[in-house]
């Protein structure tokens, strides 16, 4: 019954042999993402750029072109209208107006007045003034940088510095790639999507730590094993778990993407992309990066003295035979 039995414990994938290919791919991903952000730019939501977003449900299906030209004749700068989920639901996007917070309110009132006879329900109004928009941007960047640093410091404390550096590189890779994904798809980048990016950082590191944990475990147990061989074994031992967890997480996220409603669409798509990229980077980037350093150098210094204590107890000593 349990299909898992068919999945071998050790798939024997030689990850480390392909590490150069992985590094090239990852570099390309990062460069492409940065280029996309620089050239195409992110489609910032009102949270970060300031301005107003109004979601309306109209009495009947409106002709978008006519509505667009009507609103744009108000002299409030370019106003975009797009369908949102279904024909009667429209998103009206109002740019930040020149001047202070008061001018924004005047503009919202003008747009509402123009729309009023067509609107059945104002489903959502989000207005972020210039001041708060700026603050949200700063705290967003701060939250991202601090999360990455916080995670890196935790890894440094729990593991060695090499692990921490590799994790930080892999995490930055994931964050940049996810942001690049938003630049590519032009899905709105707002507070919720930023949350998605940070969650990806959390998910990806979760994956990475599980493998790191195994690497550390093996470093302690097999003092003589060649380093790349050791890394490959750690990757393969945890591979089934890495895949299974990605699958269950993706299953839940696909359900969210398909049925979670229009508002969560951008968030769930980013999460799906992030889980894929995070899983890839744990396998193809974080662990192969470790191979560029000598993991045993620092290990030897401080582990030699209490080797006996960290050495596995009785039941563990049988294991090397099985693997040898």
């Amino acid at each position: 019954m349990a299909l898992i039995k068919k999945l071998p414990i050790d798939l024997g994938v030689r990850f480390l042999e392909y590490r150069k290919i992985f590094f090239v791919i990852s570099t390309l991903i990062v460069l492409t993402s940065l280029a996309l952000v620089a050239v195409r730019g992110l489609n910032f939501g009102v949270d970060f750029r300031g301005g107003t977003l109004i979601e309306i449900r109209t009495h009947q299906v409106e002709e978008l072109g006519a509505l667009r030209s009507e609103l744009n004749s108000l002299g409030l700068g370019p106003i975009s209208i797009q369908e949102f989920g279904q024909p009667r639901d429209l998103l009206v996007n109002l740019q930040k107006q020149d001047g202070g917070e008061q001018e924004q309110q005047v503009a919202i009132a003008a747009v509402k007045e123009a729309l009023d006879d067509k609107v059945e329900e104002y489903r959502r109004v989000e207005f972020v003034g210039p001041k708060v928009g700026e603050e949200l941007k700063i705290s967003g960047i701060l939250a991202t940088v601090l999360s990455l640093l916080g995670i890196a410091i935790y890894i440094w404390i729990r593991f060695e510095w090499q692990f921490s550096v590799a994790a930080l590189v892999a995490l930055s890779h994931d964050v940049i790639a996810t942001v690049g994904f938003y630049a590519l798809t032009q899905y709105e980048f707002n507070l919720a999507t930023l949350a998605a990016v940070l969650t990806i950082a959390g998910y990806s590191i979760n994956d990475t730590v599980v493998i790191f944990d195994r690497v550390r475990d093996k470093l302690r147990r097999f003092k003589k094993l060649e380093q790349n061989e050791l890394l490959d074994r750690a990757l393969n031992k945890t591979l089934s778990r890495t895949i299974l967890t990605s699958v269950t997480t993706l299953l839940a996220l696909v359900a969210l993407f398909l049925f979670g409603g229009e508002v969560l669409r951008g968030l769930s798509l980013g999460l799906i992309f992030g889980v894929l990229i995070g899983t890839y980077s744990s396998l193809g980037l974080a662990v192969p990066l470790l191979s560029l350093t000598d993991l045993r150098s620092s290990q030897d210094e401080d582990e030699d003295s209490h080797d006996d204590k960290t050495l596995p107890k009785k039941d563990d000593q049988s294991t090397p035979i099985h693997l040898g």
């Binding site: 939250a143 601090l146 590191i205 839940a252 969560l264």
Partner: protein, 519 residues
């Protein structure tokens, strides 16, 4: 080896039962939970404004505007009082937040008198002199206190106004130094709230300066040019700066009708009534102006002294305008204008749609994961699924008990947790499989599998918790909700994986005495 002390079994069961108890009110209709006995948990999950619909407004108290007025008041005080004390001065003006002027006769005696007069206004004034020049400014301490009091007052008046309009359950909180967050669940029309708190509603009665020409560019020093209230064709008035009676001296205001026109009838308190009587008595036959927020509402001629302590304000109002004005006057004037910094409102339709979509997505995600785990792991998958369902129950129990707010991104957090929660179990199961392959007995493998997996689970979850914690710190409203459910989900999933599935696995092992691992 497979010890699972009795007390631990009871602990796990107790946590699960408590979880059920705290989560169950969410399945009952509100009418039932309201009537539960006190000892029974009756809190339902608190839905955020984006799910139940409602309006959230972040306002800023315009301190710069108020500071401006504060200095001007000092200037007016100095003008009036130095003149009446016959102290000569010139070049009276405001410069960089201070009032400056030059004494015509800067000897010590005059300075002393000047100081005595100005310090009457407020203890917090700093008066410095340099030759003839006098600089009057506010001390740092008094400014700090003034700002704080101003924001407190603004909150009180905002609350009073919203109460007057019958807004239900508004939450009004101070944020930072000069901000006020107003949240009104279920409010369909945020514009209405903006109308109610968008006006400072400073009302005062002043004389019209008949000697000056309203069309002149400048008004006399003790007067100012104000416009009438009708925006299409504003009329110019020259109004004396001295205030006869202000809105602070009102005891009541009601919207009513006079000759079929909507008007607001006001009643003065004792002080206001006396001042109004004196002023009208002294100025019969002359026009006075009713000024609201710097606009002249009307400027009737005083026909006779008004001693009754009440008056009628008419100004071509609509019924709604008269009603609103009465509310504003009853609640009192805001000490400074409020500026909308951020507004988020969600209609009840979208809120309900979001809840439904979230429920469907969560149910489907749950179903997919459960089927997948059952197919992949067979009987062990069923154990993981039991843990997954308990995990969800515990999440809802924690949300209800802590009265944390569930937002739309929070629902996304729960769905994500459903996917990630089985991770801990997968980690343990895979480790057990590995141990068995290495030739260990089933019991030893399970024991070791758990022992080894636990540190990994802790390490990997703590890193995710770090990200969630920072999200909570830096995020606003809905994002905080996401961080909360993610955090709760991580904690409960650690509990269910380490404690609950372990218990189930051990019970299974004891019962079956099997030698072979089914996975």
């Amino acid at each position: 080896m497979l010890q699972f002390p009795r007390w631990k079994i009871f602990l796990v069961l107790a946590v699960l039962l408590a979880g059920l108890a705290f989560a169950s009110p969410n399945l009952l209709p509100k009418s039932v939970t309201d009537n539960l006995p006190d000892w029974a948990p009756s809190n339902q999950v608190n839905l955020g404004l984006d799910l139940q619909g409602g309006a959230s407004l972040l306002m800023e108290v315009d301190l710069a505007f108020a500071a401006d007025e504060r200095v001007k008041n000092v200037l007016e005080f100095i003008r009036d009082n130095l003149r009446s004390a016959r102290i000569g001065y010139q070049n009276l003006s405001v410069s960089e937040g201070s009032v400056v002027f030059d004494l015509r006769n800067p000897d010590d005696a005059t300075r002393e008198r000047m100081r005595a007069i100005i310090s009457q206004l407020s203890q917090g004034l700093l008066i410095s002199t340099d030759e003839a020049r006098v600089t009057v400014s506010f001390s740092e301490a008094s400014t700090v206190e003034w700002r704080s009091r101003l924001v407190e007052q603004s909150i009180e008046i905002t609350r009073a106004r919203l109460d007057e309009t019958g807004t239900k359950e508004p939450s009004i909180q101070r944020q930072g130094e000069d901000r006020i967050l107003i949240q009104v669940p279920g409010e369909k029309d945020p514009d209405r709230i903006k109308q109610i708190i968008g006006k400072t509603a400073k009302l005062n009665f002043r004389m019209v300066d008949q000697s000056a020409d309203p069309n002149a560019l400048r008004a006399p020093a003790d007067a100012e040019i104000l416009l009438s209230n009708n925006p299409e064709n504003p009329q110019r008035y020259v109004i004396k700066k001295r205030i006869l009676v202000s809105g602070e001296n009102l005891s009541d205001a009601q919207a009513t009708f006079q000759d079929g026109q909507p008007v607001v009838s006001i009643t003065f308190d004792a002080t206001g009534g006396k001042r109004f009587a004196d002023a009208t008595l002294a100025n019969v036959g002359r026009p006075f102006a009713i000024v609201l927020d710097g606009k002249v509402i009307s400027a009737p001629v005083i026909r006779s002294a008004i001693l009754s302590g009440s008056a009628i304000i008419s100004g071509g109002f609509t019924v709604e305008e008269a009603g609103d004005l009465a509310i504003l006057l009853r609640a009192g004037a805001l000490p400074a204008p409020l500026i909308v910094l951020e507004e988020r409102s969600v209609g009840p339709g979208l809120g309900a749609d979001s809840v439904l979509a979230g429920q469907i997505a969560a149910a489907l995600g749950l179903a997919l994961v459960i089927v997948f785990m059952a197919v992949a792991y067979g009987s062990f998958g069923l154990m993981a699924n039991a843990a997954l369902v308990s995990n969800l129950i515990l999440i809802f129990a924690a949300l209800s008990a802590l009265q944390a707010t569930l937002t739309l991104p929070g629902i996304a957090g729960i769905v994500l947790t459903i996917g990630m929660a089985v991770d801990a179990n997968v980690l343990i199961f895979e480790r057990i499989r590995e141990e068995v392959r290495q030739g260990q007995s089933l019991t030893a493998a399970i024991d070791n599998g758990y022992k080894r997996a636990v540190t990994t689970i802790l390490d990997s979850n703590i890193t995710t918790l770090i990200a969630a914690f920072l999200l909570f710190q830096f995020g606003t409203g809905p994002i905080k909700g996401f961080a909360v459910t993610l955090t709760i989900g991580l904690l409960t999933s650690m509990f269910t994986a380490i404690m609950l599935t372990r218990l189930i696995v051990i019970l299974w092992l004891r019962r079956n005495r099997s030698k072979a691992l089914p996975i």
